[in-house]
């Protein structure tokens, strides 16, 4: 798994991944998702993740603006294209794949 090239030609580093984790309060799966995401971020030595956490019980409108009704749910806004991962993120490999998928090279 290689780091993505920057889309521009400046040769600078790829901007760090930007994600939103939608949780439903401290319900079991939501708790697990927070922990799993933390672990995934920490295990990635190259990138510093921009993580935002939205509690749908508190901020319904933000969840709706992203069409999120199932929780927990991780929305990867960057790298593009945006992708949605539902679940408590117990399958770390699936999350890593999604975070580093490169539409240019992957078939």
């Amino acid at each position: 798994m290689t780091l993505r090239d920057a889309s521009d030609t400046t040769g600078s580093r790829t901007p760090s991944p930007r994600v939103i984790l939608f949780v439903a309060g401290s319900e079991r799966n939501s708790r697990m998702a927070r922990e799993n995401l933390k672990r995934i971020c920490e295990s990635d030595l190259h990138d510093k993740y921009q993580v935002r956490i939205v509690d749908v019980l508190v901020d319904v409108e933000t969840a709706l603006s992203h069409n999120v009704l199932l929780t927990p749910c991780l929305l990867i806004q960057f790298p593009e294209p945006a992708i949605m991962i539902v679940g408590n993120l117990s399958d770390a490999a699936a999350v890593q794949d999604a975070l580093h998928s490169d539409p240019e090279t992957s078939e």
């Binding site: 319900e27 749908v56 929780t71 539902v86 679940g87 999604a98």
Partner: protein, 492 residues
């Protein structure tokens, strides 16, 4: 499934709310169960969304509040579709009593571990509270469910939703796509809902027919047949449920047939608001008799809808004129409304609504159907009978007279005078035939049946003259006509 539909004490126990659709209320015997979950299932294009939308729309119109959640369409499209039916959702939304929540479900989703519908519940909670909704519609829940991708999970999550709804004072309509055969069905949903409606469409010959049935109604009775419906410019329309002779207006007053001697044969004319049949072979004078009736009614200042399956308005009017019957002025006075229809142009249900709409639009007191024999060209054989039964039923409850003509295939037996098994619905039946008398073909008329009145039981001579239909004076010695041999008319 309908363990509770038999007449025990439980039937009264369930509070119901009217659906906003009178005919659906009749099928559900009152409406949807209050503060419970009703499920509306059906294939694509069966009108689930429309039926559901109309219900909550009408509720909001009458001052209640509703939230409409859709997983299939965006709000603008929904508003547009509704506007085409004359439903102004935007106004209701502005009033705060109606809220459309459209949710785009992602096409591709990655699954990683367990998840649930907490977000949905949080959204519903917020919307219901903001709007103060007593009604909730969730359209195409299957679009959300498919993300779980496992029957057992879908079932579990639906259970969660149903439980959550059960704790709230909200009447919920949930639609789900279900195929009649194969593919995805949600059998367990039937167990979770209190009331289950199924919509179905199929091809009947070359005509699309749609049917609604109630699969279940917990704690209540319901009408268990399949009910035809159409989707037209007024939304989902169920045909009126036939409940023969329940609210029918009793026949009392008489009206003239327009022919003096015929009135005498009938013992004083036709009963007002009755169901009348003129039956006979081609060319014997059925249409003229019906036109004479229409003219007589119009002369009393009453309005007549004349449905012609056989000829155009012009040809009907000129046919009348040739026999001294002036119809044009009645049309101009808007007392007579001639509506020519091609029987093949649509299915029987559409025909029925077409006719019912015209009855309402012109607020007529009389409907002439010339000829019912043409109804058999609309589709399945039973369909013609259903159409007439429902029409007669509607007219009887409104005190509207129905006059049918029927082209009898033979002049033979009278066991089936209407050709579509309608005999028992008729109040009066006149049978016409040809007889060979002397050297000419003559017409004869018999009052075959006239409910509730003494009437002649003989054949009487009928002549078509320049001044309309003339029936010979009833004389005791016309009994000899019985000896005449009926002959078959020459068919064109």
């Amino acid at each position: 499934m309908n363990d509770f539909s038999s007449g025990n004490g439980i039937i009264q126990a369930i509070p119901k709310l009217k659906t906003g659709n009178t005919n659906l209320d009749a099928v559900l015997q009152g409406g949807f169960p209050k503060n419970r979950l009703s499920l509306i299932s059906g294939g694509a294009g069966t009108g689930k969304t429309l039926l559901t939308l109309e219900c909550v729309y009408r509720k909001a119109l009458t001052g209640e509040s509703a939230v409409f959640v859709t997983f299939e369409e965006n709000a603008a499209v929904l508003r547009e579709n509704a506007a085409a039916l004359g439903w102004n959702l935007a106004d209701l939304e502005a009033s705060g009593r109606f809220f459309i929540q459209a949710v785009d479900t992602p096409i591709t989703v990655i699954r990683s571990g367990e998840f649930d519908v907490q977000g949905l519940l949080a959204m519903l909670d917020r919307r219901l509270k903001t709007v103060g909704a007593t009604w909730l519609a969730i359209d195409a829940i299957d679009m959300l469910l498919r993300i779980f991708d496992q029957d057992v999970l879908e079932r579990e999550q639906l259970g969660l939703l149903c439980n959550w709804l059960g704790k709230r004072e909200v009447t919920t309509l949930l639609t789900v796509k279900a195929m009649t055969s194969g593919e995805k069905v949600y059998p367990y949903l039937d167990f979770m809902a209190d009331c289950v409606l199924h919509l179905d469409q199929r091809m009947d010959g070359e005509v699309r027919t749609r049917r609604l049935r109630v699969n279940k109604y917990r704690g209540s009775g319901f009408l268990s047949n399949e009910y035809p419906y159409v989707i037209d410019s007024r939304g989902v329309r169920l045909v009126p449920v036939s409940c023969m002779a329940l609210n029918h207006v009793a026949l009392r007053d008489r009206m003239s047939s327009g022919i003096q001697n015929l009135d005498r044969l009938l013992g004083g004319g036709f009963f007002k608001g009755s169901t009348i049949l003129f039956s006979g072979p081609s060319g014997v004078g059925k249409t003229l008799l019906a036109s004479t009736y229409a003219r007589a009614a119009c002369r009393q200042g009453e309005r007549v809808l004349y449905i012609s399956f056989e000829e155009s308005a012009d040809s009907l009017i000129s046919g009348g004129r040739n026999a001294g019957l002036e119809l044009q002025s009645l049309v101009e006075k808007q007392l007579l409304h001639i509506m020519p229809i091609m029987p093949e142009s649509m299915g029987t249900e559409q025909h029925l609504f077409h006719i019912l709409d015209a009855i309402e639009r012109y607020s007529v007191e009389h409907v002439v159907l010339d000829a019912i024999s043409a109804c058999r060209r609309m589709g399945a054989p039973k369909a013609a009978f259903d159409l007439l039964l429902r029409l007669v039923n509607h007219c009887k409850t409104q005190g509207i007279a129905c006059v049918f003509t029927n082209q009898a295939l033979s002049t033979g037996g009278h066991h089936e005078i209407s050709g579509v098994g309608l005999s028992s619905l008729l109040d009066t039946a006149l049978v016409m035939r040809y007889v060979k008398a002397r050297d000419e073909l003559q017409r004869r008329l018999l009052v075959f049946k006239s409910r509730g009145s003494a009437h002649s039981n003989r054949y009487h001579e009928l002549r078509i003259t320049d001044e309309g239909i003339v029936i010979s004076d009833p004389r005791p010695d016309t009994a000899g006509d019985h000896g005449s041999n009926p002959v078959k008319p020459t068919e064109a």
